[in-house]
């Protein structure tokens, strides 16, 4: 970055800097009434000044917390900066949380002021008002439907801004002084982590840590004020906040807020972001849409698509990585780019994407390669709320489907003997709010953050995350067993809906497979394979063969990884029913409850290890209307081929 940001150690200082240096450049856009409306950096600064002065007039002071409840809107981000101007701490909350879930953060941080996007959010805040006596003021952005609300706590953002303008006119020096008082070690924001493990924890992040990480990644990717980002994920999630607040403040790039959650696709095409983030599920949904539309296309288009996607699969990734590609393939790819990849990127709204990230969960290698092969520079990153996101990022030219990349500049990594990933980074959080016990558990005396994720460095020094530490077990011979890693690998095959791997304390790994009824059903139909229903299809030898091929591919992959070669799957069976949350086999977020499944189907597990060829099973099922019934079946158990590590290496 050519411009010097020395001394600009807080977000408000950065904002005022951009308002001086690039007053007319776009800072934030929002589609309103069908037209993209732009706030320049100078306008952004004006809005922030007015809101900050208004908040100060209403008693918001240094150290106070401001709740932000809403989708990506310019006002939400302006309010965030306004709170920081006064030395306050913005606390973004998930806009789709139910009212009861919002009560805890508000009580925990004794929040006094809140900004709500619209009537829906105002209603939620009013509902929990009796439990949250600290909450004194609620400001709303969109007045629709709020005309008849007479609560004394309520005020529109417009009125707050007018009040602030007036105050600012009377005493412009006040705000300058307040901003100047801010220091890099002040708390910049607090993010509540979702409470999947107990009560939510407020992660306290300083200006220094957020700015440091935002800048490190921006320098790595060479981001500048010409870049554009579409802000479409919840602002309460640290990732969106980094991409739509911290990084634009560091680089001066522009963020765009879609009109509504349903219009994201078309808004993205109109905006053409250059920097993009999407979790794997979004990328998968996009690919599914493309595939469905291709099915409906004319025969010529389908043939072109098939042919050129094959070309792309061969050469696209290599071209992106700068590896050598033959002239013929290069020309073919160029032609494909004109006919297929270019239009496809355009439909996806990714024509201008220079850098795209995905993170959050394991991404299927085929899905990952699809985007890279059509020329989208999709990379993986690793991070969490506690680390201000950027811990590992794959540098250009070193992109792999199954790692999260090496450490970003400034980050130190190490692994405990239990293979837990430890992180020391300037981006680490200060503490969990009012929770010294949890803080001490997560961050040790030497400043290492314990992630709870298990993994290791691969041969190129990339970090590979395999599972949560608490789920990682050991085989009888002492080699590690990461069930989630195996299950994910299996689930990347379309025919496998769920998989449950067993092996902790055993001499080898065995697995339950849950077939994907839709995919296997289609496959059977195409092969004229008649079947009577789920149980019947699942017990077919042909289906067992199909699954065996999947497992053996996974085994071949595993054999190539010295750390995990012992985890190859020796025996498997296909379950006679889908694993269901209603039967307690999955969590409500559709994650396998491995231990519970193991106990419920203990007889099947014993049969897997006992060497039987079939096993009889009878199981209770609960139907959607609450009735229960039972299914009985004879399940076959089959062996899968395993590979010796050395041989697989030669083959690879």
């Amino acid at each position: 970055m050519p411009e010097s940001l020395a001394g600009l150690d807080t977000f408000p200082k950065l904002l005022m800097h951009h308002a001086r240096v690039r007053p007319q450049r776009p800072a934030i856009r929002e589609k309103d009434l069908g037209i993209w409306q732009t706030w320049t950096w100078s306008r952004f600064a004006d809005e922030v000044r007015a809101m900050a002065c208004g908040l100060a007039e209403h008693g918001f002071k240094r150290g106070d917390h401001l709740a932000l409840v809403g989708d990506n809107r310019p006002r939400i981000y302006a309010a965030m900066c306004a709170a920081q101007c006064l030395g306050g701490i913005p606390v973004p909350l998930y806009q789709d949380a139910v009212a009861a879930e919002m009560a805890y953060p508000i009580q925990n941080a004794s929040i006094t002021h809140a900004i709500a996007e619209d009537q829906e959010q105002v209603d939620k805040l009013l509902e929990i008002l009796p439990q949250c006596p600290s909450l004194e003021r609620i400001y709303y952005d969109d007045p629709r439907g709020l005309r008849h609300y007479a609560q004394p706590q309520l005020m529109s953002c417009d009125a707050l801004r007018e009040l602030g303008r007036e105050t600012f006119r009377r005493d412009p020096a006040y705000l300058e002084t307040e901003i100047a008082k801010g220091s890099s070690e002040d708390t910049a924001a607090m993010f509540f982590t979702s409470g999947t493990t107990g009560v939510p924890k407020g992660v306290v992040l300083t200006h220094a840590s957020l700015i440091d990480r935002a800048r490190a990644a921006a320098e790595m990717e060479d981001l500048g004020d010409a870049d554009v980002v579409l802000a479409y994920l919840p602002p309460a999630w640290i990732g969106q906040n980094i991409f739509s607040y911290a990084q634009p403040f560091v680089t001066g790039y522009c963020i765009c807020c879609p009109e509504s959650s349903e219009t994201v696709m078309s808004d993205m095409r109109e905006i053409g972001p250059t920097y993009y983030f999407a979790p794997p599920r979004v990328l998968e949904a996009l690919l599914t849409q493309v595939s469905i539309r291709m099915e409906d296309a004319s025969a010529l288009k389908r043939a072109l698509y098939r042919y050129f996607m094959e070309v792309a699969r061969r050469t696209g990734g290599a071209l992106l990585d700068g590896r050598p590609v033959g002239l013929a393939d290069r020309l073919l790819y160029r032609l494909g780019d004109m006919l297929v990849y270019g239009p496809l990127r355009n439909v996806l709204g990714m024509s201008r994407v220079r850098v795209a990230y995905t993170a959050g969960e394991a991404i299927g290698p085929d899905l990952f390669r699809f985007y890279r092969s059509i020329g989208i520079n999709l990379k993986q990153l690793y991070g969490s709320t506690e680390t201000s996101v950027f811990v590992c990022v794959q540098p250009n030219g070193q992109v792999k489907a199954d790692t999260v990349g090496p450490a970003v500049k400034g980050v130190e990594l190490s692994f405990t003997p239990e293979r837990e990933l430890l992180i020391r980074s300037p981006g680490l959080f200060k503490e969990y709010y009012k929770n010294p016990v949890a803080t001490a558990e997560a961050k040790d005396a030497q400043g290492w953050f314990h992630t709870g994720d298990a993994g290791y460095f691969d041969a190129d020094g990339h970090v590979k995350i395999i599972d949560r530490v608490k789920d990682v077990g050991k085989l009888a011979d002492g080699s590690i067993f990461a069930p989630k890693y195996l299950e994910n690998k299996l689930k990347f095959f379309p025919y496998v809906k769920e998989a449950v791997a067993f092996g902790h304390g055993r001499d080898r790994v065995c697995a339950f497979i849950n077939m994907d009824m839709e995919a296997v059903g289609n496959w059977a139909e195409k092969r004229n394979l008649p079947y009577a229903g789920y149980v019947d299809l699942a017990s077919r030898d042909e289906v067992y063969e199909l699954v065996r091929e999947c497992i053996e591919k996974v085994n071949a992959d595993l054999a190539a990884e010295p750390e995990l070669a012992a985890s190859q799957i020796h025996r498997y069976l296909i379950l006679h029913k889908q694993l269901e949350a209603d039967d307690g086999e999955l969590t409500r977020t559709a994650k396998v409850r491995r231990r519970h499944v193991g106990e419920k189907y203990a007889a099947l597990v014993d049969a897997l290890y006992g060497g039987a060829q079939t096993v009889h099973v009878e199981a209770q099922v609960r139907y959607e209307d609450g009735r229960t019934g039972s299914i009985s079946a004879d399940l076959k158990i089959r062996d899968a081929k395993t590979f010796t590590p050395a041989a697989a290496k030669k083959a690879a």
Binding site: G34, Q37, D142, R144
Partner: protein
């Protein structure tokens, strides 16, 4: 349009005038309508007050749509009269009715299926356009300025009814529930003082019905539009109406608040049938 930067949905000018129920603006007095020997309406009288939600309910063939068509100026009653805003008339044609601020939606949708949502709603602005066809076709001078104004009004309605995602989709490709919403949008584009809704919830599932109810109440609340709606689904109507008229075989058998109507013996008989 540029000046609208930063302001969001529901701002003036459409935002004026949500007061609570006011004076009578429409009175139907002793209206009878027959087609040859078939008596569709017999001596029906009721009134509609400004800003209220007034429902006309009744079983199939009760004369609900005929009643709406009479108010709308499509049918001309043989007897009785209608007073609208103090003006008395018996046979006003539908164009005049529209100009006097009454808009309606249709049971069988009246949309241009091949045109986009945006264009359909723009068509609803037609009455408000002042420049002539030639200028509009050439999009020059005052016509361009006017189009911008109308486009903004239409965008406010799109925002209001939350159909941004379908702005440029041809209406024929939308599901039925959404088409109904577009039909409402088209009627709203006239900025009517009174809105006649003909079975706005027919053929919808429960969720779509709830959405529609919310929009009807929002329109009434936000713009102060008086709403007359026909519906045969009693449950839905009772929840959102201020007053209800019940018709059966062309005769009025009940009139009052939802609670009064619900307790009315004649209404219960008409809906549930009586043993003779």
């Amino acid at each position: 349009m540029q000046g609208a930067a930063g302001t969001r949905a529901g701002a003036p000018p459409l935002d004026e005038g949500a007061r609570r129920v006011g004076e009578v603006i429409l009175a139907v007095e002793g209206v009878s309508l027959s087609f040859g020997g078939v008596k569709a309406l017999t001596n029906v009288s009721f009134d509609v007050r400004e800003h209220e939600v007034r429902a006309i309910i009744g079983p199939n063939g009760a004369g609900k749509s005929s009643m709406l068509n009479v108010i709308n100026g499509v049918y001309h009653p043989q007897e009785g009269k209608i007073r609208y805003l103090g003006r008395e008339f018996r046979d006003m044609d539908s164009h005049e009715v529209a100009q006097s601020g009454i808009a309606r939606t249709f049971q069988s949708l009246a949309l241009f299926k091949g045109m986009t949502v945006l264009d359909n709603i723009m068509a609803g602005r037609n009455l408000k356009m002042r420049t002539n066809l030639l200028l509009q076709a050439l999009r020059i001078g005052p016509a361009l300025r006017e189009e911008l104004e109308h486009r903004e009004a239409v965008e406010r309605i799109i925002d209001f009814l939350e159909i941004q995602a379908y702005r440029k989709v041809p209406v024929g490709r939308l599901p039925y529930g959404l088409q109904k919403r577009v039909d409402l949008a088209r009627a709203l584009a006239m900025e009517p003082r009174m809105l006649l809704l003909d079975e706005p919830m027919a053929g919808m599932n429960m969720e779509e019905k709830q959405d529609m109810c919310r929009f009807i109440l929002d329109v009434n609340d936000q713009f102060g539009t008086t709403i007359v709606l026909i519906e045969h689904d009693m449950g839905v109507v009772m929840d959102i109406s201020d007053r209800v008229v019940v018709l059966d075989y062309g005769k009025k058998i009940g009139d009052g608040t939802p609670d009064e109507v619900r307790a009315n013996k004649a209404v219960i008989d008409a809906y549930l049938g009586v043993s003779h």
